[in-house]
């Protein structure tokens, strides 16, 4: 690379960083004050692009029309943010931590279908910025003028935000709430208003980030999820709550990607940001400029202790599940096999997320690696199908040994994001290693042995294996090991003081959960006959989280109920309506608002009230 090329790629990286910074800044601000992991932030970005496109078409492609459209679009997205906050999130602030994630996940689904309905499926290529559509020559290379403008906008917005946060009363309140929101409430500040205003500002930043991309990015329906992952990464690499850190991280990632491309390693851009995040988090557990997280004193109510189920409960269910295939058509077995796999997957996620207190955003890694391990052992190593199925979970467990060792050193959202980094790195290897994993196409011909070929028979095997996995995990929760995990979650200091090696136990829990997720993945792979990288993807991890939260993270059987309801709903809705995504989102929103403790938690509370009455 010549010096000129290096300079231009540096500028490219800076321009790419600008919008990413705006989105991440909004995400960081919202998380800091409300502790909400706003999964819908990417959707707000996407809406910014779509609305700006329509406004500019309406106002005309003049400088006034363009910039007016951009600013109005950002404000409109801010209004959407207000609606989301007041109509949905405000009602569930007292729910268990992360429950709001479920609500924002549902909002993603609704916004996606709403955008499809309003703007249609075709990509919308916006106009160039009037007067700024050309390029300037730097050292004999051309770079678009608009890119230079974007490079300036990032730091400019940072400066404005800095002034807002340091020089205004609102800013003082936001900073105070970020440090200790209960204290701010106790001092008589109207938290509802503060949260709404923060959500508005965060949404405006996301909308602005999207609207400013109009000359660079066609409005399309895949933007939401592709942006949200990047924004999470930037926020965490920079350090939660640090806007300067977010800018630094956005620049670091933008420039690193531009140089991957410039140096001819374009395939690395698939995973570059996640590698950077992994390295940063291992070296600096709170991101580049972040500080240790303030402990929220009452993030909802403290989780109630779990109670072991009575023996009649599992025996009854086993009896019911055993006779179902005899009474129904074969498709019921097919759906129940899926539910069995996802139930074990969700229970294994709940195992580390609930009782062990380690949230994982990348649990699909172990599900997917288990599935791939089964497929590779069967197809490439030539093992009998039964052996491949039984060995696969231990391969996933081996990965959990390695990944877990790093992850348990962190806590909270940082831990969650490190699990995501490992999952994405695994995904990109699976996605690109054609010789072993079949690359993006995945692998086919992973059918069970002849005696298991019938779905009715495979159903009993799936039920047996997944049921055994769930039984082991539940049994462990009520063993001394399980109590140690809960001690480590509820009071790490005291646990350490009485001589418990909290990290060591967490690590062991991580490996056990990973192994069980791997078992779920292997059973799943052989039930489908084929696998593709989507079993390791963010979508699969999110599904797991949704199942756990939907059922209720503070309950034992919640994840199983969540897995069953979510799988069944998706299957049924997809058949009934074209807009099944919005339908699914609305149903989840309804559940979220009616049962802020999750389905099982909510039903338990109802039952308790009925008993008391």
């Amino acid at each position: 690379m010549s010096f000129a090329s290096i300079l231009i790629q540096l500028l490219n990286g800076l321009a790419a960083a600008s919008s990413l910074f705006l989105v991440s800044a909004g995400l960081s601000l919202i998380f800091g004050v409300t502790r909400i992991v706003n999964f819908a932030h990417g959707s707000l970005y996407m809406l910014g692009l779509y609305i700006a496109y329509s406004l500019i078409e309406m106002l005309g492609r003049t400088p006034l029309g363009f910039w007016g459209g951009v600013v109005l679009a950002a404000l409109a997205v801010g209004l959407v943010g207000i609606v989301i906050e007041t109509a949905v999130l405000r009602r569930i602030y007292r729910a268990p931590e992360l429950f709001q994630l479920l609500a924002t996940f549902a909002i993603v689904l609704v916004i996606k279908d709403a955008a499809l309905f309003a703007w249609g499926p075709e990509d919308l290529v916006g106009p160039r910025a009037p007067g700024l559509g050309g390029a300037v020559e730097i050292l004999g290379k051309r770079i678009p003028v608009y890119d230079l403008l974007l490079i300036a906008i990032g730091p400019l917005v940072l400066a404005i935000m800095h002034l807002l946060l340091r020089r205004t009363r609102w800013g003082a309140l936001v900073r105070a709430a970020t440090q200790d929101r209960e204290m701010v409430g106790a001092l008589g500040v109207d938290q509802a208003k503060l949260f709404t205003s923060v959500f508005f500002v965060g949404a405006v930043l996301a909308g602005l980030g999207g609207a400013l991309q109009i000359p660079r990015e066609p409005a399309n329906l895949d933007l939401d999820l592709s942006v949200i992952a990047d924004a999470f990464v930037v926020t965490v690499v920079g350090g939660l709550g640090s806007l300067g850190g977010a800018l630094l991280a956005a620049v670091l990632i933008g420039v690193a990607k531009a140089f991957c491309i410039g140096l001819g390693f374009s395939k690395l851009t698939l995973v570059a940001e996640f590698v950077i995040m992994g390295v940063v988090l291992v070296a600096r557990p709170y991101g580049l400029l972040g500080k240790p997280q303030a402990v929220a004193r009452t993030a909802g109510e403290a989780p109630p202790p779990l109670s072991p189920p009575r023996w009649q409960f599992p025996v009854g269910w086993i009896a019911v599940l055993a006779v179902i295939p005899l009474l129904t058509d074969q498709y019921v077995s097919v759906v129940l096999i899926d539910i069995a796999c996802f139930a074990l997957f969700a229970v294994s996620l709940h195992f580390i997320m609930g009782p062990a207190g380690m949230v994982s955003f990348g649990h699909a890694a172990y599900f997917g690696l288990g599935a791939y391990a089964g497929a590779v052992l069967f197809k490439k190593a030539g093992l009998p199908m039964e052996a491949a199925l039984l060995l696969a979970p231990f391969c996933a467990g081996l990965f959990a040994v390695v990944y877990g060792w790093f992850c348990v050193r962190l806590s909270g959202v940082y831990l969650a994001m490190l699990t995501l980094a490992f999952a994405q790195i695994s995904w990109s290897i699976v996605f690109q290693w054609d010789a072993l994993t079949g690359g993006s196409n995945g692998m086919v011909g992973i059918w069970p042995a002849a005696w298991l070929a019938d779905k009715g028979v495979y159903y009993y095997v799936a039920l047996g294996l997944c049921g055994a996995g769930i039984a082991v995990l539940w049994r462990v929760l009520f063993s001394p090991f399980g109590y140690v995990l809960r001690a480590g979650r509820d009071s790490p200091l005291r646990a350490e003081a009485i001589g418990i090696d909290v990290r060591g136990f967490q690590w062991a829990a991580f490996v056990l959960a990973g192994t069980c997720a791997g078992l779920a993945g292997a059973v799943f792979a052989f039930s489908k006959g084929s696998i593709s990288p989507s079993v390791v993807s963010i979508g699969q991890s999110t599904d797991g989280l949704v199942m756990v939260l939907l059922g209720g993270v503070d309950t034992l059987v919640g994840p199983v109920v969540g897995a069953a309801v979510f799988t069944w709903l998706r299957d049924a809705l997809a058949r009934e309506t074209d807009f099944w995504r919005a339908g699914l989102g609305l149903v989840i929103l309804l559940i979220v608002l009616l049962f802020p403790q999750g389905l099982v938690g909510g039903l338990k509370a109802l039952y308790a009230r009925w008993r008391a009455a």
């Binding site: 690379m1 010549s2 090329s5 231009i8 790629q9 490219n12 990286g13 790419a16 499809l116 499926p121 075709e122 990509d123 919308l124 290529v125 160039r128 559509g133 390029a135 290379k141 051309r142 770079i143 678009p144 000359p215 660079r216 990015e217 066609p218 399309n220 895949d222 990607k257 531009a258 491309i261 410039g262 001819g264 374009s266 395939k267 851009t269 698939l270 074969q330 498709y331 097919v334 759906v335 899926d338 996605f431 690359g439 993006s440 196409n441 995945g442 086919v444 059918w447 779905k455 799943f524 489908k528 006959g529 084929s530 696998i531 593709s532 990288p533 989507s534 299957d571 997809a574 074209d578």
Partner: protein, 401 residues
């Protein structure tokens, strides 16, 4: 008010209707269809319309085997596992005769393997991957759409004619882009042994860093570029490339750039002079296309995209296969598919006995501008059978069943 008399009259009318239409008295033949409607909606929305039109036409002509046909569609969410589950549901619950559809390669391959396991006919509509009929081909799977290899091969004569030495390549980083690139390099090298490939960029699908990619390509000083980008990636690449002067004095080929799905969003920025394959629906004068175009526009008040052709022709293929087989027995259907001839808007196509690939062709031409919209100019139709490798090569790739 609803009186008894009116009720009786209604019942009589119904009875009369069923008397003159004995076909409707029988259950329709159900055909199971899977596709990623929500994930690739730009392509699959017109595809669905094409299917609807074909179903209507087939049934208006009396259906097949004396029965109407009905397509039962399921959204597979772009996910092979969901597709296989939906396939199970279609076969066991809906009792469909066989399966058609799918869009992304990984879903197509998974359903093909599922069809083999279930010994059920599967007519893959859109997946471009070469593997579905070659490396991973099986006895029960047939594919309609012109494949990656075929479309690439159709561009080779133009590419070789230019006698450009330094080529740069850009492709989305997944199987389709990789196959297109491999096929292009191999075929061009055969025609023009002194060709040099000076730069290769493989951005992730849907996430191209277009400025940096355009710059890196320009740094390699290519004489010509071969791209297999499409959708938002293509739009971004076109805009950044032209702003940065990448395309000045450089010939560019884009594999799918002429398909209305990807060309139309570019509007007046459509890159004039690029060599593409696509679908110039506004210019095709053949009788079979005109009939299709008129019917489509009358029904939907919209112009067809390439997806419409694929959806329409897939359903016609399914109907023709049933008609030829004379029964819904899987082995008879598979036998009927071999060598089956179907009249599509692109002219007659044959499903080859050798590898189950149809000979559907494609339009090859250059991008032009007309009334602020991208169009294809100087186009010609290339028959699919002329863009396939030799029978011996195909036999080597395809596993014996």
């Amino acid at each position: 008010m609803l009186t008894r008399n009116r009720l009786l009259a209604g019942a009589a009318a119904l009875a009369a209707l069923s008397a003159i239409a004995p076909v409707s008295a029988q259950e329709p033949i159900k055909i199971g269809e899977l596709n990623s409607y929500k994930v690739f909606s730009a392509f699959l929305d017109p595809y669905k319309k094409g299917m609807e039109l074909a179903v209507e036409e087939v049934n208006a002509a009396g259906g097949v085997l004396g029965r109407k046909i009905e397509v039962v569609s399921r959204d597979d969410n772009g996910n092979p596992a969901d597709a296989v589950r939906a396939g199970e549901e279609l076969l066991t619950r809906e009792k469909v005769a066989f399966l058609i559809g799918t869009f992304p390669s990984n879903v197509g391959l998974a359903v093909a393997d599922f069809a083999k396991q279930k010994k059920t006919l599967f007519i893959a509509a859109e997946p471009l991957t070469d593997k579905i009929v070659w490396d991973a081909g099986n006895a029960y799977t047939f594919r309609l759409r012109t494949s990656t290899y075929m479309q690439t091969a159709m561009l080779i004569p133009d590419a070789a004619k230019l006698k450009k030495k330094r080529w740069a390549i850009v492709y989305p980083n997944y199987e389709y882009g990789q196959s297109a690139t491999a096929a292009f390099k191999k075929l061009l090298k055969e025609k023009q042994p002194d060709v040099e490939f000076v730069a290769e960029q493989a951005p992730p699908l849907g996430k191209i860093d277009a400025g940096a990619v355009a710059q890196a390509l320009a740094d390699a000083k290519p004489d010509a570029i071969f791209s297999s980008l499409f959708g938002p990636d293509l739009a971004k690449f076109v805009r950044e490339g032209s702003q940065r002067g990448l395309f000045k004095g450089v010939e560019v080929f884009d594999l799918l750039g002429g398909e209305p799905e990807y060309l139309d969003p570019l509007k007046d920025e459509a890159p004039v002079g690029w060599y593409v394959t696509g679908y110039p629906w506004y210019d095709i004068k053949t009788a079979e296309h005109k009939k299709f175009l008129d019917a489509y526009q009358a029904k939907f008040k919209d112009y067809p995209r390439l997806g419409s052709i694929v959806g329409y022709s897939t359903v016609l293929t399914a109907a023709a296969a049933i008609k030829k087989a004379g029964a819904l027995d899987q082995e008879k259907l598979v036998a009927a598919m071999k060598g089956l001839q179907v009249g599509t808007p692109f002219g007659p196509v044959t499903f080859r006995e050798l590898d189950h690939q149809s000979t559907m062709g494609a339009y090859v031409g250059r991008i032009g501008l007309k009334d602020g919209k991208g169009i294809m100019t100087d186009w010609r139709f290339v028959d699919g059978k002329d863009a396939l490798p030799s029978d011996a090569d195909v036999k080597k790739m395809r596993p014996a069943n």
